[in-house]
């Protein structure tokens, strides 16, 4: 790609343009784009499964797919969306791209490890595509034993192996982040001057490092049991299937925090920028990221309330689950307080961020319902749970991801996206999302179970509503793909700091040099400080308050 007319002369994009220079790159920015391509491809795969699921559920008999194919479809949707889209999404794309820029470093600590992580991800993706094409798995993304190890007639081992390999990619990235954040910060960039995006990724990396190995060993044991008839979870040998669930959820619950924490980091960057105020309670938001990471590890058995675990254990986990809501709530309160008396502008990233706050809050609150033992007896394995986690994963994480892509798009590509169209897309997504998933809360409350291809006819209206919403949601996803691609060629040239925002990444070119900075920056300002940075040109001629943000307007 040649240099952008009117933009910087030499950028990481124009540096070298052979295929080899991309496939063998050590530049974290290029690797971020490589990851972006991979996970977008998998998003389509998971999305296709979702489409078929919703189409099947339009009609109560569920004959479009039938029972067996439906099982394989929701399993594929779960596995692909969780491990091949959501978990890598923000960390490998925005995280990879921005962390060195935000801390003033030239690259991550281990660039070759970064590239290796992408290759390992793709290898795991190939294995996943194999099991999908070969006929899929019907165990659910949770691989519960003894069905998965003894009875399922599907490609369990291939699927487990795909996830196992994927885990290596995960923790390689996380290891890179941890060492980078500890050792490669620019002079003056102390821990408490770090952008909250970096804090969020640090906390996420801790979860990756401590949790991923456990799913690896769990799936390895399940695979060994299936292949060699060893007996870890097999009741015939005295093994306990619930042990599998303990080990599985020890990782998979913190995994959901892996999926949400980076998005929260994005929101913490967007809100101050478009409210023109320093973030309220920086220390608390940083601490709450670590808090979520830590407490997130001690709540896993709330997925197992109905399995036959001891009542005392269930009580303990229920209490701890209530506790984990506290740091999340701290963040929501602080974001809201940041908005108070701010100079707010409703640019696209801000629309996504505001949507995040609302939808994440709904998702989080419904999680508390599920944490109540008595309520969970009725709600477990119903659509209430499905709606709960989609509110957080889609209404939260994906909106954070899209908001981040829009916010940093000028930095990554040097172009501005078309603002008017982007706002329409954001609103479309919001409407489509709510129409898809809010009826599912009601369905679950009324008793419709999840993971069934058919349902009693009285649930049809709500299901049709949900499918209709899904079509609008799909449009909300397609529109950004179209206009963002368009903007790479035809968008307005962005300049270093179009919003403007206060982070270190905005002090360098858009797109940045391969080495990120012309010279190593020295940091002597506090984060999100809009008032004491005259060079950003934020203060109007007469007003003491910063003027609202502007992008392409």
């Amino acid at each position: 790609m040649s240099a952008i007319a009117g933009g910087p002369a030499e950028t990481y994009l124009s540096h070298e343009s052979t295929i080899a220079s991309w496939l063998l790159t050590r530049d974290h920015k290029r690797i971020a784009l490589l990851f972006f391509a991979s996970i977008t491809a998998f998003f389509f795969v998971g999305g296709a499964a979702a489409t078929l699921i919703r189409l099947n559920l339009v009609e109560p008999s569920g004959q479009l797919l039938g029972a067996d194919l439906y099982n394989r479809m929701f399993t594929m949707h779960g596995i692909v969306m969780v491990w091949f889209f959501l978990i890598p999404s923000i960390p490998t794309t925005l995280g990879n791209f921005l962390i060195p820029l935000m801390i003033g470093a030239r690259d991550l600590a281990f660039p070759r490890l970064n590239l290796a992580s992408w290759y390992v991800f793709n290898i795991s993706g190939m294995i996943a595509l194999y099991f999908i094409i070969a006929g899929g798995v019907d165990t659910g993304w949770t691989f519960y034993t003894p069905y998965s190890t003894l009875f399922s007639n599907s490609h369990v081992i291939a699927a487990a192996f795909a996830v196992f390999v994927n885990g290596f990619s995960s923790f390689m990235t996380a290891l890179n982040f941890v060492v980078t954040i500890h050792r490669l910060r620019a002079p003056g960039m102390t821990w408490f001057r770090l952008p909250l995006f970096v804090w969020a990724h640090y906390a996420t990396s801790l979860i990756f490092i401590l949790g991923t190995p456990v799913i690896a060993i769990t799936l390895l044991l399940a695979g060994l049991e299936r292949m060699f008839h060893m007996g870890f979870f097999n009741p015939a040998y005295g093994g306990d299937p619930i042990l599998f669930q303990h080990l599985f959820w020890f990782y998979s619950h913190p995994a959901v925090y892996i999926m949400i924490l980076p998005a929260m980091g994005v929101i913490s960057e967007i809100i101050p920028t478009f409210a023109r105020k320093p973030i309220f309670g920086y220390d608390f938001i940083a601490a709450s990221s670590i808090g979520i990471a830590v407490i997130g590890f001690i709540v896993w058995a709330h997925h197992m309330f109905l399995t036959g675990q001891s009542t005392y254990s269930a009580l303990a986990f229920s209490f701890l689950t209530f506790l984990v809501a506290v740091p999340s709530a701290v963040k929501v309160f602080n974001w809201t307080a940041t908005l108070y008396k701010g100079s707010i502008s409703f640019d696209t990233p801000m629309l996504y961020a505001l949507g995040f706050i609302g939808l994440f809050t709904i998702g989080g609150l419904t999680g508390l319902f599920l944490a109540c033992l008595g309520l969970d007896i009725h709600l477990h394995d119903t659509y209430f749970v499905v709606a709960h986690f989609h509110y957080i994963m889609v209404g939260g994480a994906i909106m954070g991801y899209l908001g981040g892509i829009h916010f940093w798009w000028p930095k990554i590509t040097g172009r501005l996206y078309p603002e008017y169209l982007a706002r329409i897309a954001a609103i479309t997504l919001f409407v489509g999302f709510n129409l898809t998933f809010f009826p599912q809360f009601i369905l679950g409350f009324l008793g419709m179970p999840r993971r069934y291809h058919n349902y009693p006819p009285e649930y049809q209206v709500l299901n049709v509503m949900s499918t209709a919403g899904a079509s609008i949601l799909a449009l909300g996803y397609l529109l950004p793909m179209i206009y963002l691609s368009w903007s790479m060629r035809y968008g307005k040239v962005a300049g270093k700091n179009p919003w403007p925002a206060t982070g270190l990444e905005w002090t360098t070119d858009s797109p940045p040099l391969t080495e990120n900075f012309h010279e190593t920056p020295v940091v002597d300002w506090e984060p999100y400080d809009f008032l004491h940075r005259p060079e950003l040109g934020l203060l109007g001629a007469t007003s003491k308050k910063p003027v609202p943000a502007h992008g392409d307007d």
Binding site: D107, L108, L175, L184, M230, F232, L247
Partner: protein
Amino acid sequence: MHRTGELYGQFQTLEQQKESATLGMWVFLITEILFFGGLFMAYTVNRHAFPTAFGVSGNMLDLNLGFFNTIVLIASSFTMAMSVWSAQTSRKKAVPAWLIATLILGSAFLGIKVVEYKQKFDHHLIPGYHFDITYCSNNPGACGLSGKELDDEKKEIKEGIEAEANEAKKRGAPNPEEVGLTALNAHAQLYFSLYFGMTGLHALHMIIGAGLLLWLIFEGLKGRFDANYNTPVENIGLYWHFVDIVWIFLFPLLYLINRHLA
């Protein structure tokens, strides 16, 4: 492969680069703690549930070989540490010498593991495959058992069957006397699944370690490592010590469960 002590672009100083590499290795080892940890979890839960079967099964392992292997591995950790010291003090010739010693000791460990695994196969102790905990006491010639050893094992199995029958009765099984042996065999297979899982995973890590050692020896023979540059020796050393630590726990947990019957 970069030249000795070359500074990479993303680092400001060689010291920062070295410290980052070591930090990275420690973070990786933490993932390994949790990786093996899952197996230790499975072991703990199942030993808590079936102490009798675990005791009987543990005694099927050859204590002498296990003890010898533990000594060998600890010694290899020493030789590994000595090779790091040699590099730090620029004793370039000693570095590969100590590494070769480490590799020899590690290979001895693996060789004995092969012997042990073959023994399990011969004694019908592979879970899910002709498993029979009474094979050796019924066919002492095939297992090389005789005299007091044979009597002890027969007694142990008999007591094991009784204990399992009692447990079955407590759980309300309709025919406890019949299920005693079946239950013992079933729970013993659980033990041996864990045995092969844990020692197998450990052996795999040792094989990888041996590969890394080979590379280090190759580089060390070229005189690559000295006081200015010894990061790979140190970091691979960390990995090797970790694998040793895992065995330090595997040995008592697998071999020494109920030896006081002997």
